[in-house]
């Protein structure tokens, strides 16, 4: 059943109609496609990292940078409403990081990414992360031209999140159950969260990670290395 919100103003005059079927996010998706083409040209794997605020995205970026910086060239752009704190933290690990300050906007849009792309020497970058604004709702609707969307789900958030925020989990290829080191102290069931996520998206991959004990970090980094290799092979074959 569809519901139509009716206007309360009286109809007047005649009208001509045009049936359109234009996607509301056409402007965003157009820019996302441009980004995707740029990434293909430069052989850069683009990963969009999303989650609630405080689930450990930046810490994971630091860990990932430490592990991978000798194997490939990695860079991060990080979106926040205010401050340059996250980019500064990531730069401490010795990799390029750029802060995108959204000034109150709750998500990143393709246009914001495209505007800053020329700050990076893309052909020299193998792996580029977009650390999205901490929010499980709005960022799910905006394609940023990424190859993969990775969503962190911290054990401190509760294991019932995937079906509360279904669009995010439906559009993600990977769910990282983060802060796994805290599991002994929390009423959080990894089985429940995986079951919940797979009822929404039966294809979603799952890795348990902890940036503190480094559980799962090898598996995560190997996943990334394999995806970087796939992308570069695809380009060679093309």
């Amino acid at each position: 059943m569809s519901t139509i919100e009716k206007s309360n103003k009286a109809a007047r005059g005649t009208a001509q109609c045009e049936n359109t079927n234009i996607n509301l996010l056409k402007a965003n998706d157009f820019v996302a496609d441009i980004i995707r083409k740029e990434m293909t040209k430069s052989n850069t794997l683009l990963i969009n990292v999303t989650s609630s605020a405080g689930s450990g995205k930046t810490t994971l970026m630091q860990k990932t940078a430490e592990r991978l910086k000798d194997k490939l060239t990695m860079a991060v752009m990080v979106g926040d409403l205010e401050t340059e704190r996250d980019a500064a933290r990531i730069r401490e690990t010795g990799i390029q990081a750029l802060q995108i300050v959204t000034g109150g906007i709750c998500h990143l849009e393709a246009q914001m990414i495209h505007q800053v792309l020329d700050q990076f020497d893309l052909p020299s970058i193998d792996l580029l992360f977009i650390e999205n604004v901490g929010n499980l709702v709005c960022p799910s609707s905006f394609d940023l031209g990424e190859d993969y969307r990775v969503t962190l789900m911290a054990t401190t958030e509760g294991d019932d999140k995937p079906r509360k925020y279904p669009k995010m989990f439906l559009t993600s290829e990977m769910m990282l159950v983060s802060k796994a080191d805290l599991l002994p102290h929390l009423p959080f069931s990894v089985d429940n969260v995986v079951k919940d996520a797979r009822e929404v998206n039966h294809e979603i991959e799952v890795i348990r990670v902890s940036s503190v004990t480094e559980e799962g970090i090898d598996e995560w980094c190997n996943w990334l290395l394999a995806k970087v290799e796939d992308k570069q092979m695809a380009e060679v074959n093309a």
Binding site: S2, Q16, E18, L24, L25, P166, E199
Partner: protein, 115 residues
């Protein structure tokens, strides 16, 4: 906040699609938003009202919002299922499916102009 950018996106899209002369006669915008689009019709109306206040040229243009339910079509048995409680499972054969055929849309499906 999100709804405000959606309204801006709608208006930007229409301004790109139609000539200035035509946009001056804009009478109605019909959008279709799915349950999964994370767009709340009431908030979208409010955001549009705010937009109209700062853009008096569009005072007469009404926004109509239709929301659509979530439906999947099974890849194995082709059965269409209305998704309840975000369980993406075919009600006919029980296989999981993320083949969403309705409920994700954010469409401007009709635009009306005064003669």
């Amino acid at each position: 906040m999100h709804e405000t950018s959606i309204v801006n996106s709608i208006m930007r899209t229409l301004e790109l699609e139609f000539e200035v002369e035509k946009m001056a006669r804009l009478k109605g915008i019909y959008v279709k938003v799915g349950i999964l689009s994370n767009i709340e019709p009431r908030l979208l109306h409010n955001a549009y009202d705010a937009f109209q206040m700062t853009n008096p040229g569009y005072t007469d243009a009404e926004l109509h919002i239709e929301s659509t339910e979530l439906k999947i079509q099974c890849e194995l048995c082709n059965h269409e299922t209305k998704v309840k409680n975000y369980r993406f499972i075919c009600e006919n054969c029980g296989s999981p499916s993320k083949n969403v055929i309705q409920g994700e849309e954010m469409l401007i499906h009709k635009v009306e102009f005064n003669d």
